[in-house]
């Protein structure tokens, strides 16, 4: 078994974690005084909170997450996007055309049409309706080119690496631009086919071997081997 940092333990649904009165975060519930894991993952107990880092499961929208979505439909004054979740992301026409605007369907289609890919932020997530997304910020908006691929959202942190180190390694070595959504969608664009294929291969490798300790070295080796 992979050697874990201290205080992290492999858990299954129903497993007991602690009775300490800590703040409950992701993937845990309280049964009486006992904190229980609700998924398969790594329990993470800190000084004031407890959570389980899940090893599987779909993406659940969280406020301020940066996600990639594909436009599926236009209804009323909103676009609806597939954000790799059981809920669609709702992008208000007002977010793009300005507050108080009432764009027509054809005006909306011209800006963003079915199949278009966007980089967006989760703006609001309440239980009563689909999560709101926004592309109002500078580095958000339509992604014009590139390959759209998907990996399990639980593997995204590994793909990004500590302080972005892993993703930067891949970009530097391949000259590709990689946009990573926390929801598991990724867009890779590169002028050279070779760089594109290498970048895709690196991402696939991380997807398949995210659990290995020496993954960073393996990825580096693979990128170097295929030549610059």
């Amino acid at each position: 078994m992979k050697k874990l940092e201290s205080k992290k333990r492999y858990v299954l649904p129903g497993d007991f974690i602690t009775t300490a009165p800590l703040r409950l975060q992701d993937n845990v519930v309280l049964e009486g005084k006992r904190v229980i894991s609700t998924t398969i993952g790594l329990s993470d107990v800190s000084a004031d909170s407890v959570r389980v880092i899940s090893l599987n499961g779909i993406y659940m929208p969280k406020i301020d997450d940066l996600v990639i979505g594909t436009i599926q439909s236009i209804f009323g004054n909103s676009w609806f996007a597939d954000i790799n979740s059981c809920y669609q992301g709702m992008l208000l026409g007002q977010d793009v055309f300005g507050r108080g605007s009432y764009p027509t369907t054809s005006e909306m289609k011209e800006r963003l049409d079915k199949g278009d890919i966007i980089f967006a932020r989760i703006a609001n997530s309440d239980r009563q309706r689909e999560p709101l997304i926004s592309i109002a910020d500078k580095n958000l908006g339509k992604i014009d080119s590139g390959e759209l691929i998907k990996i399990p959202p639980t593997k995204i942190p590994r793909l990004i690496g500590k302080h972005g180190s892993m993703i930067q390694t891949i970009e530097a070595s391949t000259n590709a631009t990689i946009t990573v959504g926390q929801n598991g969608f990724i867009v890779v664009s590169c002028d050279e086919t070779n760089g594109l294929l290498k970048a895709l291969a690196a991402i696939r490798m991380i997807d398949e071997q995210a659990h290995l300790v020496d993954l960073t070295d393996k990825v580096k080796k693979m990128l170097e081997f295929n030549g610059v």
Partner: protein, 272 residues
């Protein structure tokens, strides 16, 4: 052309671009089927069974043999019936409920391919002429759907039939009575192999996977027997084939059919 969803539009153009370069999205050649793995005897309590894995498509076929009444106009022949079902766990869009027309088509095409080839000698499956015959039921269930269910179901059913055991019944007072421990091999005369080809633009591709299947303009399933003769045909899809294309498909089905027949023969050798 069939109704495509949004992602499919991008997929179809990507698939066509690759085909112009002689490539497919999973790196196969245009005339290359996916790897086929056959396991037999997976349901030991049934009279015969097999699981076929054609790429990521998986089908389990179970054979049940039991006495039955003959068809009204065929009192001197046993019964052979094929069914197919796409289990709801096979694909997110698979539905529960009575079989849809596309699934019924699969079952009937697989059925005809096996029946018209004369694979099972049904004349040896009679207990009492016009009264009681042996019925062979091949029930195919798709457990994972990645396209080309026609061939996957057919390969599973054929392998299951080859390795089936037919129990022995004797007529006593006009009723069939089972004689224990005297089962025999199924009387096989030939091994029918179906090969399905799809048409995208002007390109013919063998054994389309699900992504390709959803972009096909037309498709054809051709079943050949051990002598290399064509025993069944089914064209599907909203577009048409030219005569040249059909001749090409026929040639492909014989050549590829031979290779698949060898795979199935090898997989079913041990269990006889």
């Amino acid at each position: 052309m069939a109704n495509l969803s949004i992602i499919d539009k991008l997929k179809r153009s990507k698939i066509l671009d690759l085909l112009q370069e002689g490539k497919r999205i999973d790196d196969r050649a245009l005339d290359e089927p996916r790897p086929l793995v056959i396991d037999t005897g997976v349901i030991p309590h049934a009279n015969g069974s097999a699981r076929a894995r054609l790429g990521d498509t998986e089908v389990v076929s179970g054979i049940k043999v039991q006495p039955d009444k003959p068809f009204p106009d065929m009192g001197d022949k046993g019964i052979f019936i094929c069914t197919a079902e796409i289990l709801p766990l096979a694909h997110p869009s698979a539905e529960t409920g009575p079989p849809q027309p596309n699934v019924i088509e699969i079952a009937r095409v697989v059925d005809r391919g096996i029946r018209e080839s004369g694979m099972i000698d049904l004349s040896q499956m009679v207990l009492q002429k016009d009264k009681s015959v042996i019925g062979v039921f091949a029930d195919n269930v798709v457990t994972d759907h990645d396209g080309n269910l026609f061939d996957a179901c057919s390969y599973a059913a054929v392998a299951a039939i080859i390795t089936s055991k037919i129990p022995k019944w004797e007529m006593k007072d006009d009723k069939p009575v089972l004689i224990e421990d005297q089962a025999s091999d199924t009387p096989i005369t030939t091994i029918p192999i179906s090969v399905t080809m799809g048409l995208i633009g002007e390109f013919i591709i063998v054994d389309p996977n699900l992504d390709e299947w959803e972009c096909l303009d037309a498709r054809i399933t051709i079943t050949t027997n051990s002598d290399g003769n064509i025993v069944a045909l089914q064209k599907g899809g909203s577009d048409g084939f030219s005569l040249e294309q059909l001749v090409k498909c026929a040639e492909l089905s014989i050549a590829i059919g031979k290779k698949i027949r060898d795979i199935i023969k090898q997989a079913t050798e041990g269990s006889k």
